[in-house]
Subunit: 344 residues, 3 copies
């Protein structure tokens, strides 16, 4: 087996589902290859346990939520939100006991997402990421989700990659006009990597038209924040602001779930943007999913990645460096800055 | 890989098929992960060979039975019931020869089942199990079969487990009345493990109604007999007797075939029982198959079982002890007796 | 894992596709388990590269041919027929460079087939096989193709095996009359193995009728030529000649692609032969595919081959000897001759 760009970072928050997906029945979600079951306790708080009954290992997600407790569908073992067994129907005597419990994972509900801290039976040492734009005055937010058949690294690189847009998404996003030489100012700290594109004219295609109907030079940032947030931000003056945050959750080594929130404050009437942005994003996403799926099949078939990068792979190598250093628990590098020219 | 409750006991009889399934053509059956072909010889006796032609390894079950001999479909090599090649069409000279044979397995047809002794080229040192009730005066028998997506151990434990019935089969079999505290008297010998339930009122649900329309305290035995027989027996006085024998055949590590025979002598008109028992058993079986399939997927996904048992897992741990000791060829334990209280 | 009759001989020509299959778009073909992409350059010449973009490993076959160059569908990297990158759209500066290339495979278009030399980045030291009959005056050729679910060895043995025809293809090809004792004269050199059948009456079945409507003794040769050509030739006097050449391409260990060319010069009107031969060949092939697929499943299931051969497995063992010696790079045996009697 060759090299795959896969890093496991359990001591972090990841989105398990949207708030509205978690209702009165248990919800199965695999994260970092671990099967979890989510449910709401009697107070409505989300809870996450490993999805395996301590007794005969049936998935607890096949059971039911009764009065805020999770009940296994086989013999009726009953769990509280901490993963402790509090009922065994056929048993005479005390049902609790040290062995009769399952791992639980810390959860946090925030901005319409349910986040899970993937280190079992541990307390988080930070807060989940705050997605910019959601709920701010003058902003609207569109959300969409999808499974991406790719490693977290390949998915994050793709979301933040400028060069493929002109080619893969030709017409939808860039690619129709004459390319311009622009400069990317790269900044990498211990927890994030960012590219600021300087001197970039309004991107061609539909999304550029919403952003800057009158043309002009836009401010454009692409940024990755550990462990799995990929954010694209465009700004034109004070009145036009679009930020698309992709919260990436590693389901397994080669499947990554994308929870995207596109928030915008634009001069173009929001009703038009609301109607047009989601189908546009969906088409872009469908093209990315197809090509990333082909990439994944290919690296599996060849039993390893053989990537050759150039200067214009602006953020991919930095994302990998951040992931790998974090996985190894290494002291991150000092602040890094660089400039790269590219045609976009 | 962690622990799985899997034991291989080839020196035993297992049911391959019902008599009526084995007719004039070869029948493929996998048992203990070994592909076998069954056919009837010129005298109508069942024969079992390994399902692989000695020549080019094509499954003999793809061939045909001609005059009580089994003929491979590729080059026409012809086998007798002992697995000896007795014909090679293109060959000039004697077709027999020591290398030109395949393993054969002893067979026995009894009570409408074809049993196979899974130790190849060996003679059995005992008879197949005699299923109680079949053919006895005043008894009727209903048979049903199914593949169960579980280890032999998990399937046998499930068949003989009381606590899950009130929960998984609620309404069909127990679970509707108030639970009673009853006593299970456990007996384990070198070849079997049995639980006798003392002081058990008629079980709630439909099956209890057939057994004891007027209520009353029933005699109830659950027993496991090596290598793979799981039997549930209910008796109420001299006139009401129901015994369900599950003959379990390990197909592969995680698939077990169930051949069930439910024999009964009841005061309730047998026509009613005949009409109702099979659909009831089928519904119970469907629920068990679904939960056992979920259990199997889960232990595979977690790469091992992590079972926590309690006292009310009455027979499961004893079944495993019997299987494991038999697999290791150990001297079995001395007679073991114990009592357990449970809510049922 | 036991033994499988699998040999890898990359330093040889194999057919990738028929000429007519390779048009103006890239064509994906797996050969010897290696994913390749074929395309035609600006001169119309076939080109073959490894099917993996050097950049992010997306299959190049998902891209497009533009002006005789192959362009990846993800970021638009552009390759010439030698596998060299000659364009990277977003890059400022020279796109070429030693690391920016992929392996290329020599190709040759001949007699309507595109051949590929499976040793990457190497020049062939011989020409592809010349298929007899194609384009000769007085000859017609019928072509057909199929994937065979078997090793190259099992497929070649099957194509050249006489005994199975009377059994598996009974009625279509042999098997209807009384078998005759005939003699096979075997010849094996360093690169081929051949059986000449002496004293063979016209084969029974349809194909024999075309060949020799008036009966008579035919000349019949079966031959295997390294690495993967299986040829069956019948001749009756100067006027009746039928030669079926099977060009076998190993796709993967257990899948072999067959490109067959049946050329004939016969007294029977060619219009009749043209109409009848292809459906006949297709039925024979369907039967072979089914039995070879069963053989393959069986050897996989038993984790190895356990073949027992007899004298009448005329060419199979010689084919394996040739393949194995060639794979090991051994000096081939001296010329070998033998005679075998068989019933056919």
């Amino acid at each position: 087996m060759g090299h795959f760009s896969i890093a496991h970072l359990p001591r972090h928050w990841y989105v398990a589902c949207k708030s509205e997906e978690l209702r009165d029945q248990p919800l199965a979600r695999t994260m970092l290859d671990v099967p979890l079951v989510l449910f709401r306790d009697a107070g409505g708080e989300p809870r996450a346990l490993i999805d395996r009954c301590a007794h005969r290992n049936v998935p607890l997600s096949k059971g039911a939520v009764m009065a805020g407790k999770l009940v296994c569908g086989y013999h009726g073992w009953c769990y509280d939100g901490e993963g402790q067994v509090i009922g065994v129907p056929a048993l005479v005597g005390d049902p609790t006991g040290k062995a009769r419990r399952v791992s639980r994972y810390a959860t946090k509900e925030k901005q319409g997402y349910v986040w899970v801290w993937l280190d079992p039976d541990k307390e988080p040492d930070k807060e989940p990421y705050t997605v910019p734009g959601i709920g701010l005055p003058g902003y609207d937010t569109i959300r969409y989700e999808s499974d991406i058949p790719a490693t977290l690294h390949a998915a994050a690189e793709n979301v933040l990659d400028v060069p493929h847009t002109a080619f893969l998404h030709k017409g939808l996003f860039r690619g129709t006009g004459t390319p311009n030489k622009i400069t990317a100012k790269i900044l990498r700290t211990g927890v994030m990597a960012q590219a600021e594109y300087v001197g970039e004219p309004r991107p061609s295609g539909w999304i550029g038209r919403f952003l800057a109907p009158g043309g002009g030079t836009v401010e454009h940032f692409d940024r990755f924040v550990l462990p799995s947030i990929a954010e694209v931000e465009y700004r034109l003056g004070a009145d036009n602001h679009l930020v698309v945050t992709s919260l990436l959750t590693p389901i397994s080594d080669f499947v990554t779930r994308l929870f995207a929130a596109a928030s915008f404050k634009l001069r173009v009437p929001h009703a038009i943007v609301n109607a047009a942005l989601k189908p546009l994003a969906q088409r872009v996403l469908t093209q990315d999913i197809e090509i990333l799926g082909a990439q994944t099949e290919s690296v599996k078939r060849f039993e390893g990645e053989q990537f050759v990068s150039t200067d214009v792979d602006i953020l991919g190598p930095h994302i990998w460096r951040l992931l790998k250093q974090a996985e190894r628990g290494e002291e991150p590098d000092e602040r890094y800055e660089a400039e790269v020219e590219l045609m976009a």
